[in-house]
Every structure is written in structure tokens, then in C-alpha cells.
């Protein structure tokens, strides 16, 4: 498998009246073709901003995106003009969001909305692009696709709307699909349907998926590689099995211990992480997890640990891993 996306030292800072917010702070990683990469973290950890920065979908200002490079299929996205980006977005890279109601336009038929992106990027005429839209609706498991293409978004349920979003995203055969909490707004039985669909389609279309979620269970079932983010930084990066079997960073360990699991001894007491994630406006010096870390020592309050190899294919930003 070859590298599809290489991100080197990505920084995204929001300039606000209250001060500069370092939402993404020196993130580096690589994604291979066809692979599913999970990004986990709590709210405000910078996982969505990382994805939006790669797509360059953030308004600048207030955002400022800097970095060494963001290579996508050999091209540096940070160097591209808005026109070049527009040709790429929705075509070679596509994105789906948490809330499928607000991402669809309520006044256009869903068939039209799928056909629109096909027409823009694949140079097909109105009839061919409509046929492609119907074909995609059928692919994502919407019954009576030919008839349903004439319906408006409000005539679909939440799960069905997310299927429509996936149909739009995959209509031009993208090599990268960014899915930002795609099932968080859905009920658990509907979530199972959508995850099943994403698994099948990413296999069929050979699409690499960047899956952003706060749910470690979703990561376990979907991703091959995982990035763990905390307060704008990458704290651990490894393959999924290693992450759950042998987490290196104390934050990852604490996160795994703090969730109630279906297979634990039922009345076992949860081990919460004490305190709160830091305020990005007042980031502590040194490791940002140090104030909540049970293993923190004097060095952790002074220096920021770099993300380094701690095991085979496992990187962690911690002076005292495992």
C-alpha cells in the first residue's frame, strides 16, 4: 500500500478576541491508500479541526493554518489555490458530517444534490448524472432508489439522510473519505446499519477513511490505525489492536479505564480521570496531560514530550510510557 496522505507538523490557530487558541498543535501522521484511520479524542481535542484543516474548509481568518506540508496523492494541499482545492474536494476527497439534516439542502431533491457533484466533477450530462445519483442511492441501501431520488431531505429519516450523505460523498469515487462523527446523532440500531455500510463500501471502492469519533467501540470495529488526540496534540499513534492491548500513553490508558464496558465485572468501580481538559487559551507548560496524569513527574511540568517511537509501529508523546 502506498501513502495517500502525509501530514507534517500541522498547526491550526484561531485568532480570537480572548487570545490565540492553538486548536491543532504540531500534528504529523501518514495514511495509506484504502486504510481506515481512526482519530479519537474528547471535545476540544482538535480532531475535527485537524480534518477541516486538511480539507482547508476553515475560514481564514480567524483560523490560521501553517505546517510543513500536507501531501495528498503527491500534491501539497497547503500550496493550492481555492480553485484547485474546489476541484479536489467532493471529487478525490470527500467529507461527511455528524448531522445529516444540516448538511443537506432542504429545498433541493436528494437526487439533484447527488447529481450536482457528479456533474461538477465527472463531466456527465444531466441524464447520466441523474442515473449515477440513482445508482448511488441504490448502493447505499435506499429502497426504491429511482423514486426516492425525487424526494426532499425532510422526507428521509436520520439514518436514511446519512446514507444520502454517503452517496454524495462516494459518487465521484474519492480516494479519501473524511467522516466526522458520522453516527453520533443516530440511534444504536441505525448506527450499526451505517457502520456496516461504511465497512462494505470502503472495501468495494477501495476508499481510505479518516474516521473521527469519541467512541472507542466504533474505533475498535472500524479502524486499522488510530490517532489519539488531547488538547490539540497527538499523544499516541499506533495500530488498533496494539492501542487496546498495550496502550502506551497514560491518557489512552486512563480513557480505556474510564468507560463502562459490556464485558467487565458489572459492579466494578469506574476509574475516572480527575480534573478537566486544559483551557486552550491557558495551556500548561510542558505536557498538557501532566496536571491530570497519575504518573507525572517534575520533568513533565517543564518540557513538552515529543511524539516518538516507543514500540514497533507505536508512537507516544510521553516521557514515561506504559
Amino acid at each position: 500500500m502506498t501513502d495517500l496522505l502525509t501530514v507534517r507538523d500541522l498547526h491550526t490557530t484561531f485568532h480570537t478576541r480572548a487570545g490565540d487558541v492553538p486548536a491543532v498543535n504540531g500534528v504529523s501522521f501518514t495514511m495509506r491508500e484504502g486504510e481506515t484511520l481512526g482519530i479519537v479524542g474528547e471535545s476540544g481535542s482538535g480532531k475535527s479541526v485537524t480534518a477541516l484543516s486538511i480539507m482547508r474548509l476553515l475560514p481564514t481568518p480567524p483560523a490560521e493554518i501553517t505546517g510543513q506540508e500536507v501531501l495528498f496523492a503527491g500534491q501539497d494541499l497547503l500550496e493550492m489555490s481555492q480553485d484547485q482545492l474546489r476541484a479536489l474536494r467532493g471529487n478525490k476527497m470527500a467529507m461527511i458530517f455528524q448531522d445529516p439534516m444540516t448538511s443537506l439542502n432542504p429545498v433541493f431533491k436528494v437526487g439533484f444534490q447527488i447529481a450536482e457533484s457528479v456533474r461538477m466533477h465527472m463531466n456527465l450530462g444531466p441524464r447520466d448524472s441523474w442515473n449515477r445519483a440513482v445508482e448511488m442511492l441504490d448502493k447505499v441501501g435506499i429502497p426504491n432508489a429511482a423514486r426516492r431520488a425525487n424526494d426532499y431531505p425532510h422526507e428521509f429519516s436520520g439514518g436514511m439522510r446519512q446514507r444520502v450523505m454517503i452517496a454524495i460523498a462516494l459518487s465521484c469515487n474519492p480516494s479519501l473519505l473524511i467522516a466526522d462523527e458520522p453516527t453520533t446523532a443516530l440511534d444504536v440500531t441505525i448506527q450499526a446499519q451505517i457502520l456496516e455500510l461504511m465497512r462494505a463500501l470502503s472495501k468495494e471502492f477501495q476508499t481510505a477513511v479518516m474516521l473521527i469519533t469519541h467512541d472507542l467501540g466504533v474505533i475498535a470495529g472500524m479502524a486499522q490505525q488510530v490517532l489519539v488526540m488531547y488538547a490539540g496534540r497527538l499523544v499516541e499513534a499506533t495500530d488498533t489492536r496494539t492501542l487496546f492491548a498495550k496502550p502506551a500513553h497514560p491518557y489512552t490508558q486512563a480513557l480505556l479505564h474510564s468507560i463502562p464496558r459490556m464485558d467487565d465485572a458489572q459492579n466494578e468501580r469506574l476509574q475516572p480521570i480527575t480534573g478537566q481538559p486544559p483551557d486552550l487559551l491557558k495551556m500548561p507548560v510542558g505536557c498538557s496531560f501532566a496536571p491530570r496524569c497519575p504518573k507525572a513527574q517534575a520533568r513533565c511540568q517543564r518540557e513538552t514530550p515529543p511524539l516518538v517511537e516507543v514500540g514497533a509501529g507505536q508512537r507516544a508523546a510521553c516521557f514515561f510510557p506504559y
Binding site: V188, I190, I219, A220, R241, P260, D263, L270
Partner: protein, 340 residues
């Protein structure tokens, strides 16, 4: 309702709350279409909660779990049935008497951002019920507020601060302190940790367990998160489209679910274990949740039911609504063809 069902849902010995055949219908009148009829949000629900016990109420959106919680507190009009709290049917009480009863049963809401008044200080928020119910003079109320703050683990310097100065987890502690102000014996917690980050969720769950131990509280814990419900509840009821489809001890429900819907629900939960996820058999239900405006005939679950499909869609599932009946001692299920 069969006698044996009563045994399943109400081990009446020490029942604090006994909900009998509770119905909440929302009439569909007015509007452009002038539709008649009613949405049967809660359609004949039975369960009991013993003193100091946690009953988990799970189900997907629109199944009526929140409406059930609100109806118990008489926050919305009840269409039928009884809510017997401490031996008294509170659906028959005057509004004034209901208000007095509410001191003993309080609610904790999901969103700690919208359930606290932004213009009130923490002391005012926690003190409001104490003032309303005239629980002592200013000095005594102030004393009680400080006591409550320490009970929920907030520093005393929080008193004169406003909700926006607190994180989600801390706000939920303020919400708990307010709910506990009048020494209730029952807390109805509607998705109390769903808006919180996972690392903070555990703090609030542990606090709720500690409070239960210390104050002998009973909880009705309403949630869509089955892992959280399993952790905190002694008994669990599963709802689907306004009805309880299964109710039993938490351990029993997760080890040996009997209703096909419960089985599907449990198998749909993503587990934080990649090895298990790779090998596990999932029951993926086809189709969407039906609208509660026009629920399917007979058993509400039959159009999506894998068990009914395996049996060749029996007539009975389509025609006849199954009643909640005892399968084993303290394990009731509403299914014509339950399978262990």
C-alpha cells in the same frame, strides 16, 4: 394484566414507586391537516422501583422513555394509569398537592448547559427549591447550600459563580445538588451523562453511586447508552414504541436477553475490543424505527423482527399485541415467541 405479570414488574414488598398501566397520549388536533387521533407516546407501562434501587430505562429515540419520566413527575398530563409513590396515587392529586410531592421526587436533566439559569449564581440555583419550600431562614438555607456543595464535590468558592464558569461535568454536579436540596427519595435522571465527555462521565457516574449509598436514593436512570445503564442499574427495562418489551435484573438482561429487540440492541453496541469486534456476530436490524404516530399493528416490533422473519412472519405477531409476561422469576418479556 395477568397476576404473574404483576409479580414480575412489582416485587411490592418495598416499592417506593409503582407505575401501573401508565398511558400518555398526545392528541393530534389543529394544524394545517386537522388530523385526529393521538400519538401513544407511552402505552400501558408497568414497573416498580424499590427504595435505594436503580432501575435503568433504555430505548431508542422516540420510544417514550423521557415521556415516562416526565409523566411520573406529573410534568405532563397523564392519560391513564396510576403512579403510586410511597403508597399514594399521585395522578389523582390536586396541582398544589403534586407540587408538595415533588419535593420527594426530583429530576436531573441531560443538558447541563440549558437546564441551569445563566443569570443565577450557583448559590441561587441550589437555594431556589429551599426558598420555595420555605426550608428554614437565610442562615439555615446558606448552611444547607454549603453542605450540598460538599456532598457533590464542588469547592465552596463556587457559591457566587455563574454556570458559564463551569465545565459540563461541574454543571451536572450543580444540577445534582439542586435536585438533592429537598432530600428526595427518588431521582429521575434523564440521560444525565450523555452530554459529557467520557473521562468526565465516569466522575458523575461514580458520584451518583456514592450519593445513592449515602442517602439511600432510588434512581430511574433513563438512557440510550446500554453500557452505562448496565453499569449503574440493578434492574433494567427496555422500551420500544411506547411499551416495555423486557424487564429484569440487569445481570440477567445482559447475559440472557429474551426479546429479539433486546438481543439486536445489545449486539449493535460497538465494543472497545478490536479482537472481539472482528469476530462477533452482529444482528443488524433492517429498516428504521417506525413513527410513533402510526405504529405497526400487533407487536410493534414485528416489521423489523429477525425472530418473526425466521418463523415465516407468523400471523399472530401481526395481529396480536403481546403482553408483558413472566418467562422466569423476575424476568418478564413481551413476545409471542421468545427464545433463550
Amino acid at each position: 394484566m395477568a397476576d404473574e405479570t404483576m409479580l414480575a414488574t412489582s416485587m411490592t414488598t418495598d416499592a417506593l414507586l409503582d407505575v401501573q398501566d401508565l398511558k400518555v397520549y398526545f392528541p393530534m388536533t389543529g394544524g394545517l391537516l386537522q388530523r385526529g387521533g393521538a400519538v401513544r407516546a407511552v402505552d400501558g407501562v408497568n414497573f416498580t422501583i424499590r427504595r435505594g434501587e436503580t432501575l435503568g430505562l433504555v430505548g431508542e429515540s422516540g420510544c417514550g422513555k423521557s415521556t415516562t419520566g416526565r409523566a411520573i413527575l406529573q410534568l405532563i398530563p397523564v392519560t391513564g394509569g396510576k403512579v403510586i409513590f410511597n403508597g399514594m396515587d399521585i395522578t389523582k392529586l390536586s396541582p398544589k398537592a403534586v407540587r408538595q410531592k415533588r419535593a420527594e421526587m426530583q429530576m436531573v436533566f441531560q443538558d447541563p448547559f440549558s437546564s441551569l439559569d445563566p443569570r443565577y449564581t450557583v448559590a441561587q440555583i441550589i437555594g431556589e427549591p429551599l426558598v420555595n419550600f420555605k426550608r428554614g431562614n437565610n442562615r439555615e438555607i446558606d448552611q444547607r447550600i454549603r453542605e450540598l456543595l460538599s456532598t457533590v464535590g464542588l469547592p465552596t468558592n463556587s457559591l457566587n459563580r455563574y454556570p458559564h464558569e463551569f465545565s459540563g461535568g461541574q454543571r451536572q454536579r450543580v444540577g445534582l445538588a439542586r435536585a438533592l436540596a429537598l432530600n428526595p427519595s427518588l431521582l429521575i435522571a434523564d440521560e444525565p451523562v450523555s452530554a459529557l465527555d467520557v473521562s468526565v462521565q465516569a466522575q458523575v457516574l461514580n458520584l451518583m453511586e456514592d450519593l445513592q449509598q449515602k442517602l439511600g436514593l432510588a434512581y430511574l436512570f433513563i438512557s440510550h447508552n446500554l453500557s452505562v445503564v448496565r453499569h449503574i442499574s440493578q434492574r433494567v427495562a427496555v422500551m420500544y414504541l411506547g411499551r416495555i418489551v423486557e424487564i429484569t435484573a440487569s445481570r440477567q438482561l445482559y447475559a440472557q436477553p429474551l426479546h429479539p429487540y433486546t438481543k439486536a440492541l445489545l449486539s449493535a453496541i460497538p465494543m472497545p475490543d478490536p479482537v472481539l469486534e472482528a469476530t462477533r456476530q452482529r444482528i443488524v436490524l433492517a429498516g428504521d424505527l417506525p413513527s410513533p404516530v402510526a405504529p405497526p399493528s400487533g407487536c410493534h416490533f414485528h416489521p423489523r423482527c429477525p425472530r418473526a422473519q425466521a418463523l415465516g412472519n407468523p400471523e399472530r405477531c401481526r395481529q396480536e399485541s403481546p403482553t408483558l409476561t413472566m418467562a422466569t422469576l423476575d424476568h418478564a418479556v413481551a413476545c409471542h415467541f421468545p427464545e433463550a
